[in-house]
């Protein structure tokens, strides 16, 4: 491969390194700096360097698509000893991999990352824990970029865990709030379940490929072929189909954990306890997308198994609907957006399951921008009015002009109104599922769910918009007078608005589109950029119609400061309560985690203390009892002692005259 910018590829490792350095500096000296913001600027600087480099590398990849890997760092080496499963040993490597997928992710992560960092400078300025915030955020950025550039699944997992921990700390940023602390715990543990499954999948691949024969030995190749099907397409009949299916399911489990897919989706809405910026960066744009990314990079051989594909489709499709339904009733501005994130991630998973990996990534790409935009705008609102309760807000479009516009753009994009970014990608997802359903009838129901979700999406996001911005005054008069945010906050909003408008159309630029079509080594991926056959156009028209319908409904119910309240005796009440209670899943999870598991462990503890250790004490007691009883023989009366002597004598005589003659072995008989 050649190209002016390819010279940069060997330096790709600098992309994660820049924020990492920022992390070290802020982490060590942040608290000692004269003004806490300085730490913030260091972090912003790190993010900026990362963005410049990352974008340049991505551009380089656009100009000359190809695969560049650098596996120079040997992390863990098992020298082979000629026997066993790994006759020539193996070495686990850390490296960088530049290819279309990582290029796409690079753009997303670095750009959003930088903007959010910038935004944070003023958004967070009231906080005392600022250095901690920037240190953790930089660490997150570094890990996320490490994950994006990961060269093999193990490295992927390594950074995967690190971003998990960062998210844990950032969710718990206001650690003195019990709610925040327990939300962080919940997030970590739920995703941990997924991680463990993911690890299991890694083991299966590891062993299978190590034993798959010459050339596929782990030692030889690290994992790059996990990313690029080419070596694997020769492996269309993998060593053990069952194991491969299982591995696919395990990987799916991991992805579901990170990307909050059903049933591991409980943690994401609660994760909104963290600062809004964190929600924007981690729980909307980047980390939660890692699951989708994982599915994308492994889709090559997950795709081998129809079972896996169906499982992915099912989970994605169902989650889309499930989350959107909950978003429709919630009254917390951030949580609504969080549910919408879950639902949109469902779209991406759906597309990948349907076999259109790049379509999924396409939606990831656009979604990152408009969802970050929505969060930052929401952040600006919260920053201004200091509440998250939609029903207290209202009429903010006058004061927060830029914010309201930004939110509006984000909302339209999310609702899939052309020509905004969301329109192209979501539309593409739908049509690709439609296409897949032609050959796999089982996909139809999920297609229907996804399609229905379009309406709900438009409805809930505009419900938020109307409740927040329309009307003439806040419903809660006690709210402080709102002011438009400073430039550090508005500029990111504006930039993201631009991206939310353009990102979708960008793929029609051949170079950029190239990234999405020429997923190197993938089976040729149809659908990106969208090709408008008559069916597609039909689908688009209908979906746009649904979106518009959703917006209209929202306007009717909530527009101009109206507040729609469901009649108490309405048949819909139970449903509403069900949705508000999140289908009681959270309750069930808490019950299981805090009651059942804890009760079991208490029981084990009891057994440990009273039965196992009790036995030990039993021995002690046995001996001391024995001792006390035997001591009675020591009566102090000498005649007793004499008696013992005689008894002993008698015993011997019995032994010598009865036992010995009786036992030939003793020379008797």
């Amino acid at each position: 491969m050649s190209g002016p910018l390819n010279a940069l590829f060997p330096w790709a490792f600098l992309v994660p390194l820049a924020p990492a350095i920022a992390f070290v500096i802020v982490g060590l000296f942040g608290r000692r700096m004269r003004r806490l913001e300085w730490g913030g600027w260091v972090a912003v600087g790190g993010a900026f360097v990362a963005m410049v480099l990352g974008v340049l590398i991505a551009v380089g990849e656009m100009l000359s698509p190809g695969t560049y890997t650098d596996r120079s760092f040997n992390w863990f080496t098992l020298p082979g000893n000629g026997t066993g499963t790994f006759p020539n040993g193996f070495s686990l490597v850390m490296g960088t991999l530049v290819d279309p997928l990582s290029a796409i992710m690079l753009i997303v992560v670095t750009v959003v990352g930088f903007l959010v960092m910038l935004y944070s400078v003023d958004y967070m300025h009231r906080d005392t824990g600022l250095p901690r915030y920037y240190a953790e955020l930089s660490l997150f950025l570094a890990s996320m970029l490490g994950l994006v550039l990961a060269d093999n699944l193990l490295q992927f997992f390594l950074f995967w865990e690190l971003v998990g921990v960062c998210s844990y700390f950032l969710i718990g940023f206001y650690y003195q709030r019990p709610a925040a602390a327990s939300a962080a715990k919940e997030a970590f543990l739920v995703t941990r379940v997924g991680d463990v499954l993911f690890l299991g999948g890694i083991y299966i691949y590891f062993q299978q490929f190590a034993t798959a024969g010459p050339g596929l030995g782990w030692a030889a190749a690290g994992f790059p072929f996990v990313f690029h099907g080419a070596p694997f397409l020769t492996l269309l009949h993998p060593p053990n189909p069952t194991l491969f299916t299982l591995a696919g399911l395990l990987i799916l489990g991991g992805a579901a954990g990170k990307s909050a897919q059903f049933p591991l989706d409980v943690w994401l809405p609660d994760a909104m306890e963290g600062p809004t910026t964190v929600s924007a960066l981690i729980h909307a744009a980047t980390m939660v997308a890692a699951g989708v990314y994982l599915l994308a990079v492994t889709s090559v051989f997950i795709g081998f198994s129809a079972t896996d594909s169906f499982a992915i489709v099912a989970i994605g499709g169902f989650t889309t609907f499930w989350a959107a339904s909950m978003a429709m009733v919630n009254r917390d501005i951030k949580r609504v957006i969080a549910y919408s994130t879950v639902s949109q991630l469902g779209y991406m998973v759906l597309a990948i399951g349907a076999g259109f990996t790049m379509v999924g990534l396409y939606h990831l790409f656009t979604h990152a921008f408009f969802k970050a935009l929505l969060f930052l705008a929401a952040g600006a609102v919260i920053h201004a009015v200091d509440t998250q309760d939609l029903f207290k807000m209202g009429g903010l479009r006058k004061t927060l002009r830029i914010t309201s516009i930004g939110f509006l753009i984000g909302g339209l994009s999310l609702a899939g109104i052309p020509p905004l970014a969301g329109f192209f990608s979501k539309d593409d997802v739908l049509s690709s599922v439609y296409t897949a359903a032609q050959t796999h009838p089982m996909y139809w129901p999920f297609f229907v769910l996804a399609f229905a979700t379009v309406f709900m999406t438009a409805y809930y996001i505009f419900r938020v918009w109307f409740l927040t911005f329309s009307g003439d005054r806040p419903r809660d008069p006690t709210l402080p007078p709102a002011h438009e945010a400073p430039w550090t906050m508005t500029v990111p909003i504006l930039i993201l608005s631009g991206l939310a408008i353009l990102a979708g159309a960008l793929v029609f630029v051949p170079q950029i589109g190239g990234l999405f079509t020429a997923g190197v080594g993938f089976p040729a991926t149809p659908g990106v950029p969208p090709t408008y056959t008559t069916t597609d156009i039909l689908l688009s028209v209908v979906s746009v119609g649904l979106g518009a319908g959703g917006i209209l409904t929202a306007y009717v119910l909530w527009g101009n400061g109206r507040v729609f309240s469901l009649a108490e005796d309405s048949a819909a009440q139970p449903i509403r309560r069900l949705l508000l209670e999140r289908y009681y899943v959270k309750t069930a999870v808490d019950w299981f985690g805090l009651r059942v598991v804890y009760a079991v462990s208490r029981f084990l503890d009891f057994v440990d203390e009273y039965i196992i250790d009790g036995t030990v004490h039993g021995f002690e007691r046995l001996f001391s009892e024995l001792s006390i009883r035997l001591r009675r023989l020591q009566s102090g009366v000498v005649l007793d002692y004499a008696a013992y002597v005689v008894v002993g004598l008698a015993v011997f005589l019995v032994f010598l005259y009865v036992i010995v003659p009786a036992i030939p072995a003793l020379g008797g008989g």
């Binding site: 992390w75 000893n81 193990l154 690190l162 003195q176 941990r192 690890l199 083991y203 804890y598 503890d605």
Partner: protein, 487 residues
């Protein structure tokens, strides 16, 4: 070549004696001895010649052998030697000795005796790791007990006397069993001497049932030190009552003696015996893993929690050893090293929590982060490392261990794998209760870590990160052992 092992033994011995009698100045002597010890360890690593790492597994290096007891029927030699496994564990010994001395720098009560006993414990552990003769091995093995008995019993908590006695007797019974088994092995196989080499050479001549019985008794003998469920109940008591330094050595070194003994004197001498009862070891290992994790979840006492988590981790070690594969043993040793560092860190944490806030009860102390940011950072590092966070020391070990398990046992790997969630659960919950939430149970004037303790923990944190990022630093050496040739 420098007889570095005997030299080190001499250094430690002389150092211990001097320390005992140098009263208030003992800590300086102890520090000097630790420094010397580390230097000698460095020499060992050098003599272990880095370039040789690439070559196939070698046998014992640095071997020295002198006749000790020689009568017609009994040939005991003073034989010492190290291979990669012992080398790594010796490194652990040196590190823990140094940090323990540093941590207890301000010990006021009988400092001479305190530091002397600490050094003596490490001397014993070092001896165990280098001894290549049954008697020598047993001598050092028992030498470890005495100082630990006094460390717990004299400097310990309220129930220290009970705990010390329990520890002493329980482990002594186990060692005795182990000794019988080794003697029977030696004399029934007509081994020319009690040296490791000759035992390993001749033991295969024994009848298979004999080997099985012998291996099982060895397993019990070493297992109690591990400790394995259900012979573990001495551990929580010992830990809870022991002073911090004692817990550090107990968890960091003494538990490793069990693992090392099982590898060196069980698995390498009676492989046939192992082969026939592997399933028993698996069962015990799984039991320990699940049990340790499950019980930890119920603990309110920070130290008790860490103690039970040790049972869980050592269960994984046992599992990896029982696999009897080179990958498994690599993982086992790596995990022992990792657990040595991490548990030491966590026990220091609980010690500092105790004397900073006057209690270790997670229900009564909480939200300490604002008061003691440094301490809470250490706590987080320790907990995250212990639950196997990548880029920290335990991860490469656990990853390899479970990989080896999957390789040999297939789906059984699900047991330890899913237990990882529980492990994460109790650590995360511990952090939530101890570090986060509203401050409670914080006595007035509670301060952050004093320098000595901060230094000791800092060293461990640095090592945790360092070896987590560069595990090859250890892996290269562990490979240089006779067992690396296994399938």
């Amino acid at each position: 070549m420098l007889p570095i092992l005997s030299l080190t033994l001499a250094t430690l011995f002389v150092g211990t004696v001097i320390t005992f009698f140098s009263g208030p100045r003992a800590r300086y002597v102890a520090a000097g001895v630790s420094a010397a010890f580390l230097v000698e360890i460095a020499v060992m690593f050098l003599q272990f010649s880095w370039p040789a790492v690439a070559v196939a597994p070698t046998h014992f290096a640095e071997s020295e052998s002198y006749p000790w007891i020689q009568v017609a029927w009994l040939h005991v030699n003073y034989t010492v030697g190290i291979d990669g496994i012992s080398l790594v564990l010796i490194l652990l010994t040196g590190i823990l000795q140094a940090v323990t001395v540093a941590y207890s720098w301000t010990e006021r009560r009988e400092p001479g005796a305190w530091f002397g006993l600490v050094l003596l414990t490490c001397l014993g552990c070092f001896g165990v790791f280098v001894a290549l003769d049954v008697l020598l091995f047993f001598v050092f093995w028992e030498v470890v007990l005495i100082p630990m008995f006094f460390l717990i019993g004299f400097w310990g908590g309220p129930r220290r006397r009970y705990a010390a006695l329990k520890f002493f007797i329980y482990t002594h019974v186990a060692s005795v069993t182990m000794l019988v088994a080794l003697l029977v092995t030696a004399f029934y196989s007509h081994s020319p001497s009690l040296d490791f080499a000759s035992l390993a050479g001749s033991a295969s001549a024994l009848a298979v049932p004999t080997q099985i019985v012998l291996f099982l008794s060895l397993f019990f003998g070493f297992g109690v030190k591990f400790p394995i469920v259900p012979f573990h109940t001495w551990l929580p008591d010992a830990h809870v009552e022991a002073p911090t330094g004692g817990s550090v050595l107990l968890a960091g070194l003494l538990l490793k003696l069990g693992g090392y003994g099982l590898i060196r004197w069980g698995l390498e001498i009676l492989p046939t015996g192992l082969a026939h009862v592997q399933w028993i070891l698996y069962a015990v290992a799984f039991a320990s893993i699940v049990w340790g994790a499950g019980v930890s979840l119920a603990q309110r006492d920070l130290k008790r929690l860490v103690a039970f988590s040790s049972i869980n981790h050592m269960g994984i070690v046992l599992l990896a050893i029982a696999l009897y594969s080179s990958l498994g043993l690599l993982a086992a040793v790596l995990l022992m090293f990792a657990h040595g560092i991490v548990s030491a860190l966590l026990f220091m944490v609980s010690g500092s929590v105790h004397h900073t806030f006057g209690s270790r009860d997670l229900a009564s102390v909480g939200g300490i982060t604002p008061t003691a940011p440094a301490l809470s950072t250490m706590t987080m590092t320790g907990a995250l490392a212990s639950l196997g966070l990548p880029a920290l020391i335990s991860f490469p070990a656990e990853f390899t261990a479970l990989l080896a398990t999957w390789d040999k046992l297939g789906y059984w790997v699900l047991i330890p794998l899913l237990t990882l969630v529980v492990t994460a659960a109790f650590y995360i919950w511990m952090m939530q209760r101890l570090l986060f939430g509203q401050p409670k149970g914080i006595p007035a004037g509670a301060h952050d870590l004093p320098y000595a303790e901060a230094f000791a923990m800092g060293v461990l944190v640095v090592l945790t990160v360092l070896y987590g990022i560069l595990p090859n630093l250890l892996v290269h050496f562990i490979q240089l052992s006779p067992v690396a040739g296994l399938p």
